[in-house]
Symmetry: C2
Subunit: 135 residues, 2 copies
DNA sequence: CTGGATCCCACAGGATACTG
DNA sequence: CAGTATCCTGTGGGATCCAG
């Protein structure tokens, strides 16, 4: 049957659209910086190199799994370097690459924007919440 | 007993950290633009106002639920205006506020960064994937 | 046409224990 | 110390039906 349900059409559109989004650099980067831990790790590393457990302590509340996972993906994308020193207790240092520093800059821009406009957003929220409450 | 298990300490740290993050404007904005649909809606609306169903069609693959949910949160944050025209079939238009346009600008900056550095990321990925494969 | 309400499931991500 | 493997839960988000 040539007729598709609305759900089927939407599903098809979604798949195509997802494929399109995946091929889009903007969206890929957006996915990167959207990740909660990515931004935290990059920020933590911005001042200088840190060891694995230092990161774990500095970020406070990250599970080893997510820390490793985040570090791996950032390393893969060439945003940070992983240096292993095979001493008696193994020592691993992580530091941002030039590209990583660059991303940190972008995060800073986001941060600046946030701080600049945060009051407006807060006011808008209060207005919105209030006008709904008093009826 | 005054002694806490490692899990308890981590849990406490996580709660405190979450509270800290919630109070941080940067993180709130990051949460905003991280949302997959938020960026798409803002981009779709950047050129000009659109109706509800136009948005649904332009974004292709969004469920009515997420579309509404996204629009509501953006409206609450004062990023877009919702205009209801009570004609026979109800008509609702959405358009970015000045603040919303501003956010669109930020997304554009992210986009520019992405397009500028995407090649480097892609190369880094290929390098990473290759060196792992040939052993 | 524009949504609200509900059910439901996949999957990201946290806790935990174990290994080089 | 620096992870890896496993399990398990929370929740984001899609499908579906209903209402103004």
């Amino acid at each position: 049957m040539a007729t598709m349900t609305a759900a089927q059409r939407r599903e098809q559109a979604r798949v195509e659209y997802d494929a399109f989004l995946k091929s889009c650099p903007t969206n890929q980067l957006l996915d990167r910086i959207s990740d909660k831990w990515v931004s935290l790790v990059v920020s933590a590393l911005a001042p200088g190199p840190l060891r694995y457990s230092d990161l774990g302590r500095k970020i406070a509340g990250v599970s080893p799994k997510m820390l490793t996972q985040t570090l791996r993906s950032l390393e893969r994308d060439g945003l940070l370097d992983r240096t292993v020193t095979p001493s008696v207790p193994v020592r691993v240092d992580y530091e941002l690459t030039a590209l990583g520093q660059n991303l940190a800059l972008l995060l800073t821009a986001v941060k600046d924007w946030a701080e600049t406009h945060f009051d407006e957003v807060r006011e808008a929220r209060e207005r919105y919440d209030t006008e709904g409450a008093d009826s």
